[in-house]
Every structure is written in structure tokens, then in C-alpha cells.
């Protein structure tokens, strides 16, 4: 007899029973919150042409994409995240639309990460994209939506860190760094690797003055005070504008009454390069990854032929579920199923139980009808 394979490959898994019930319930809860903000559902295909997720777009690095060929030898990719796919889709169907477009999605994403690191290769993501709106009110709507979604999910404590991609770019421009140095510096600053920042800037003959500043910005994170501090460090318009934007954002967030969940982190940079303005991540205890990541991407739709600003975020449902589990947040199942048993040797009993069952189902209850086993 040949050997049967019944386990799943590394990084993917079966989700069933209580865990899956919980996941579905969580998704429904969050979807409700998203719908309350007036977003419309959209579904894009699980795989697309490689170009949608290529290097120019700035999503997951090519070696972490699952790639394969179609019959015409085109390279196809299992989506690593939704944003480029939605951007493509919006550029196609809403080419001439100038009014804001609110879209939300739910689905699985795939990244071919290293083995044996305890990381999932397939995760479920839920998110929203708000296109054709470059206002600070749109930024605030995103963050408030994240707060409401996380509150509804039941996590007792979480924190949203907000940064601005432009602040760092402006500062690099001011200091006269070339593109290659900026790229390296971005990696070091986002890794809070102070030592390497110092080394790199020394090697590039950057003045002591800017060295100090770059070392400081990796450190600037916290409340509103950190924005004042960050503003004092820079002289260029781009960075100052970024701080203005964050201050305005904070004012709008106060109207939403969500400011207690907010902190600023100007050293934060995302691994996705398509972000152009406000970027944010939500953290909670019990899990080593951010549960939500998002930001503004005003240039991405341009790659697909529509010049339109946009902002969005994705909740990694698997990470959020793990955090809930680790924090021992109890599951409150909305509805329990009834189990009705009939005596298989008694035809009348079956008829009675069936009647009962139909009545319950009509009343909207969940009912499992089964023959009583002879063992019990």
C-alpha cells in the first residue's frame, strides 16, 4: 500500500471546530464595523499577473511570492497582499470616478517565507481602501475605523503607532543623501539600529549635525510632545508639512475620541514601499507582530493608469485571533446548536423529532438531527 499523506505542507493549516467558529464570528464583527463606515465589498482573484505585485509596485519582495506559469507562459502570483490588486481593480472599473470610493475586502494572502521559523504562509486578511480622498479627514477615518474594529474584536488593550513616510524622505533630501544611502538608512532607522545609522553616516561623510538628527528620529516616539520635538529638528518643507499633517490628524482624532489609543513613531517605515504619507500599525500584547498595518499610497494607482490618492489598512485576522487566544479573551458564541436524537428503531420517534427539528429551524435555531447510537 502506498503511503498516505494526510498532513498539510509547512506554513498552512486546517482551521475547524471552535477555532473556526471564533474566526468567522470575529470576521463578522469586524465586517459590521466596516459596514457602519459605509464601505462596499469587493472580491479580487486569488492569483494575478506578476506585474501587479512586481518590484515597481513595492509590495512583498519577489523571492517571497508564490509564482507559477499559465499555459501561455505568463508568470502568475498568489496575492501577497490586497492593496495592489484593489488599486488595479479600481483603476479599471472607476477610471473616471472622482468621488471617494470606499471598498472593503476579506480573503487569504500568501507569502513564501522561510521554513522552520514558526510563520504562517497563508493568512486571512480583512481590510479597507479609501480611494480619491487625500484629506486629513480620510486619514482620521482610517485610524478611527481601526480603533473601532479592535474594540469590537474584544482585545482589552492595544496601541496604534502613527508615522509619516514623508518626514524621513524630506530629511534625507535636506541632508543631501543619495538614493542608495537613503535606502540603507531607512532599513537601519526602521530597525532602530542606532549603531549602524551612526556607522553608515560616518562612512558617507554626513555632517555631525545631521548624524545627530538621524540618531534622534529613531528615538522619537510617544505622544504629541514628540511631534513638537520632531518639528524642531528639521528645516525642510517636506518634513514640516508631514508634521503639520500629523498634528491636524491628531485634532480630527480627538473629535472621534480615539486619541488615547494613539502614539507617534517617526522612525517607523513600512516594508511596503508604495506608502507615501501617513503610515500606521496596531499592536497588542501576546503576539510578536502588528495586528493591523496600513497607510497612504497616493502614487500606487498611477501605476495602473489612474492618478488618484488613496489610503487603506489590512487586519491580519490570524494574528488578531492568536492575540485574543493568548490574552485569554473568552469566546462568546452567539448561538449554540441543538442536538436532537431519535431512536432509529422507532419510526414514530423519528417523525416526532423531525417535527420538533423543523419547528426549531423555522424559528432560526441551529439544529443537528441524528440517530441515537446504540452505544449510548
Amino acid at each position: 500500500m502506498s503511503k498516505r499523506i494526510i498532513h498539510t505542507p509547512e506554513g498552512v493549516r486546517d482551521i475547524y471546530g471552535k477555532e473556526y467558529t471564533r474566526q468567522l464570528q470575529l470576521q463578522e464583527t469586524i465586517r459590521n464595523v466596516i459596514k457602519q463606515y459605509g464601505y462596499d465589498d469587493i472580491q479580487t482573484p486569488t492569483f494575478e499577473f506578476f506585474d501587479v505585485f512586481s518590484k515597481e509596485i513595492g509590495t512583498t519582495p519577489s523571492q517571497e511570492l508564490y509564482k507559477f506559469f499559465d499555459k501561455e507562459n505568463n508568470t502568475l502570483v498568489l496575492r501577497p497582499d490586497f492593496t495592489p490588486a484593489i488599486a488595479r481593480c479600481a483603476s479599471k472599473y472607476f477610471m473616471d470616478e472622482t468621488e471617494p470610493i470606499r471598498l472593503c475586502y476579506l480573503g487569504n494572502t500568501y507569502t513564501n517565507t522561510n521554513n522552520l521559523q514558526g510563520k504562517l504562509k497563508e493568512v486571512t486578511q480583512m481590510g479597507v481602501e479609501l480611494i480619491n480622498d487625500d484629506s486629513v479627514e480620510a486619514d482620521a477615518e482610517m485610524i478611527s475605523l481601526v480603533v473601532d474594529a479592535l474594540k469590537a474584536s474584544g482585545v482589552p488593550k492595544f496601541q496604534i503607532a502613527i508615522g509619516e513616510a514623508e518626514y524621513f524622505k524630506g530629511l534625507c533630501e535636506e541632508a543631501g543623501l543619495d538614493e542608495e544611502t537613503e535606502k540603507q538608512l531607512r532599513a537601519f532607522v526602521s530597525g532602530k539600529n542606532y549603531f549602524a545609522v551612526e556607522q553608515l553616516l560616518q562612512d558617507c561623510n554626513v555632517s555631525e549635525y545631521y548624524k545627530e538628527i538621524f540618531l534622534r528620529i529613531a528615538d522619537i516616539f510617544g505622544n504629541m510632545g514628540s511631534l513638537t520635538e520632531a518639528r524642531a529638528l528639521v528645516k525642510n518643507e517636506r518634513s514640516v508639512y508631514a508634521i503639520d499633517r500629523l498634528e491636524k490628524l491628531y485634532q480630527v482624532l480627538k473629535l472621534y475620541q480615539v486619541e488615547e489609543y494613539i502614539s507617534f513613531d517617526l522612525g517607523m517605515v513600512s516594508k511596503y514601499h508604495y506608502y507615501t504619507g501617513v503610515i500606521f500599525k496596531a499592536f497588542t500584547t501576546g503576539i510578536g507582530n502588528a495586528v493591523v498595518t496600513g497607510g497612504r499610497y497616493d502614487k500606487l494607482l498611477g501605476h495602473f493608469g489612474k492618478q488618484a490618492p488613496a489610503i487603506g489598512f489590512a487586519i491580519v485576522v490570524d494574528h488578531l485571533l492568536e492575540a485574543l487566544m493568548r490574552q485569554q479573551v473568552p469566546i462568546q458564541l452567539k448561538k449554540q446548536k441543538h442536538v436532537l436524537q431519535y431512536d432509529p428503531n422507532d419510526e414514530k420517534d423519528y417523525v416526532n423529532k423531525l417535527q420538533e427539528c423543523i419547528a426549531l429551524r423555522t424559528a432560526g435555531e441551529y439544529v443537528e438531527l441524528k440517530a441515537a447510537s446504540s452505544k449510548s
Partner: protein
Amino acid sequence: MNCDTYLTFALGKGRLANKTLDLLSQLGIRCDEILDKSTRKLIFVNEELKLRFFLAKGPDVPTYVELGAADIGVVGKDTIMEENRNVYEILDLGFGKCKMCVCGPESARELLQHHERIRVASKYPNIAKEYFYDKKHQTVDIIKLNGSVELGPIVELSDVIVDIVETGSTLKENGLAVLEEICPLSARMIVNPVSLQMQRERIQELVAGIRALQNKEF
């Protein structure tokens, strides 16, 4: 953060751990239990300061920190480079200084001048790969070894090795020399990005304390 949450440290076993505990004790953070060689306990708790410590094999430290099983880790730069995990590398602790080098017999120096294929033995295949492919643009066969890498060129398993060099005495005794330096190394403190957000004050205080100590020494 409620203060009944522990701050957990993963320390690379051996000299690094001892040096780290020395440094922490200067800040008034003590965990004497861990120094007791006869103990078989795996995790050590300082209830007063709400700290937990455990010892792990070097290459495992970034894993514990990335996945959030430990908030803070202390480990050599070599391990951080080799493992390439998503952690904040927040502090150069300044001890455990050494260099990552390409070593071999003098006769192998010539082989590094051209782009021809050579064999490289190392405990650090990722570092070796990155150095030869991305910096030197040389095609190499990398052979992963788990220790006594110096044997490689001696028994002609490989042309050169990529390894840590501290004093160079092992190399010299075996007729090998440093042919190229890849980068300097030392002990680093790494932090889980979520922990830095969620336990910001405690971690910043600790980092500021260590920085102050370092400045005093210079």
C-alpha cells in the same frame, strides 16, 4: 501597560550572558539565581522588578525575540546577521568584540582575486552567501559546518572558510590567516517591535541606563 506584566530577557548562553548580567547589576538589576552553575532551572525570575531571564543557544535568541516569547535579547551581531529576523537592534553593548573574516592558507589569497568558483566552509552560510554573491560577485559553493570550521581548508574540504576571528591564534596554529575582513562584530541588544510599543517606558528606561553607563566608561 499594567505593571504585573513581566519583561522577559533571552540571553545567549556563555560569556555574553555573564557580561550582560554584570552590566545589568550595575544598574541595580540582579538575578543571582542564574549564575548558580548547578541549577537545572530554565527560567529565572526577579519578582521585585518583574523581570524574567532565560538562557538560550545564540542562534535561538533572535527567534525567541521575533516571535515575542522574549521581549529583549542579547546576542552577537554574527547571529543577528545570519538569522535575519524582524527585530529592533537597539544597542551595541560593546563587549564580545571580534570580526567576521574570510580565512584560509596564504595560497588561497589568489583565489579571492578572481570571480572563479571556490568552495567556502562556514557556520554562517547566509553571511558567506551575501558576502560572496552581493559584495564580491563571486560564485561559490557553500558548505555548512557546525563547528571546528578551521578544519575545512586543512583537510581540503574547502578552499577558504568564513568565520569569527577574535585573536587569530587558532588560525595561526593551523597555518591559516585572515584573508579578508567582512565586518566587525560585538554583542547587541535586540528588542521585539511590539514590546517596544507596549512596554515603551520600561524599555526606554533600561536603554537610557545602559547608554549612560557606556558614556561613563569612555
